[in-house]
């Protein structure tokens, strides 16, 4: 019958196993190098160096959304006060027509069923044209 080992012998055996394992492991026999804490950081970006303004700009109300953006983004960089000149401009008819032409297509495509989406795919090259007439069941006359 195999007797259980004593706790002491168990410990000794474990220690010996650990010794063998750690001796088998490789290690570099060099003196410990001091970690040089580099206090110089390299950065290739100009954003840290100079406070640059936001890249999109609009003057005298040409594009109201961009003017709003300018205020927003430059306020983050603590810019000077910007005079508020709200000049109301009408969107030209051409632009409205153009926007709606593509908008109807893209929104319509979102709600179209899978079969109907094929009708949109054909016109992918130019603007997306609206959906063609659905094929309904035609009852025979007889």
């Amino acid at each position: 019958m195999q007797r259980g080992l004593d706790s002491e012998t168990k410990k000794q055996l474990e220690e010996e196993e650990k010794k063998i394992i750690s001796e088998e492991r490789w290690y570099l026999d060099l003196p410990e190098l001091k970690e040089k804490e580099s206090f110089i950081i390299e950065e290739q970006s100009f954003l840290l160096c100079e406070d640059l303004l936001y890249g999109r700009m609009s003057f005298r109300g040409f594009n109201p959304e961009v003017e709003k953006l300018m205020l927003q983004m430059n306020a983050k960089n603590k810019a000077e006060e910007v005079e508020e000149e709200t000049v109301e401009l009408d969107v030209s008819d051409e632009e409205m027509a153009r926007r709606y032409e593509t908008l109807v297509g893209t929104i319509g495509k979102k709600f179209a069923k899978k079969r109907d989406r094929a009708n949109y795919e054909e016109d992918e090259n130019g603007d997306i044209k609206p959906i063609k007439t659905k094929k309904m069941f035609l009852k025979p006359q007889d």
């Binding site: 390299e42 950065e43 290739q44």
Partner: protein, 275 residues
């Protein structure tokens, strides 16, 4: 330039590095080594032979120093890699020793992470667009990186469109990637740039000058007539005004600004304001 050449010859001949503080706002040439403020003590004319490296004493006084474009870290010193004027900015919040960089001039853009650039869509392959930003490789732009884009709701981007976006990945080992969305998912003015207008190229230094907070050129230009401008850090500017003639005048002014003095500029603006 003769003065700068003489200085360089002296420093190269003696292999003496100069203190960065002494060279601020002066022209530096590639290959020069600059000492940071904490290291100037041991570099007097007497110690020509041995120069022990001091890591501890000098380091802690300056805190973390950032070396910006045109400079590289070389041991404990800064090595200049581009020719231009050395600039320094004190740290605002007090942590760190400030930023040093070289204000150089070049036309060729190298993609840098975080830069906002104007790109031209050159190809549409599967899920990504290939965008030409003026670097060595076209950047890739995924169709999901637009505001409100989902797999079913694709953005309306065609080949030849202008895109204003920023880089998320830009290093020398990988293809640059850009997005038209910020970290919160909002567009913030990025995305496809609208119809009409004119795109032209200028040097990178001019862009940075124009985008400086106290730029007079832009203030004067803004008084002429209603217009819209987009600046890309890759040297590209897109302008749009009500008529073609106004757009062309604007483009010519911005291109010529590079080489004009302030007086010449004022003359031109006053002539334009009259007509």
């Amino acid at each position: 330039m003769a003065e700068a050449a003489a200085l360089v010859a002296e420093s190269l001949a003696g292999y003496r590095a100069r203190a960065a503080r002494a060279v601020l706002e002066q022209v530096v040439l590639p290959g020069e080594e600059l000492l940071l403020p904490g290291q100037e003590d041991g570099e007097g004319p007497g110690s020509a032979g041995e120069r022990p490296l001091r890591l501890n004493a000098g380091a802690r006084s300056g805190g973390r120093v950032v070396c910006g474009p045109g400079l590289r870290r070389c041991g404990d010193r800064l090595l200049v890699t581009k020719c231009g004027r050395l600039r320094h900015k004190e740290p605002g919040s007090g942590n760190g020793g400030g930023v040093y960089w070289v204000d150089s001039q070049q036309k060729r853009y190298v993609p840098v992470k975080g830069d906002h650039v104007i790109g031209i869509v050159t190809a549409k392959s599967g899920d990504i667009f290939k965008v030409d930003v003026g670097g060595s490789e076209p950047a890739s732009l995924s169709y999901l990186s637009f505001e409100g884009a989902t797999k079913r709701n694709r953005p309306n981007v065609q080949v030849g469109d202008l895109i204003y976006g920023q880089f998320v990945v830009a290093n020398k080992d990988m293809e640059p990637e850009m997005v038209c969305i910020d970290s919160c998912g909002r567009a913030n003015g990025m995305g496809v740039i609208g119809q009409d207008g004119l795109l032209f190229k200028v040097t990178l230094g001019l862009i940075r000058r124009l985008l400086a907070p106290d730029c007079e050129i832009l203030q004067e230009v803004g008084k002429l007539y209603p217009l819209e401008i987009v600046f890309g850090m890759n040297g590209r500017i897109w302008v749009k005004a009500k008529t073609i003639q106004q757009t062309l005048i604007l483009a010519n002014i911005l291109e010529a600004c590079e080489h004009m003095t302030a007086d010449q500029r004022k003359q031109i603006f006053s002539r334009l304001a009259e007509s």
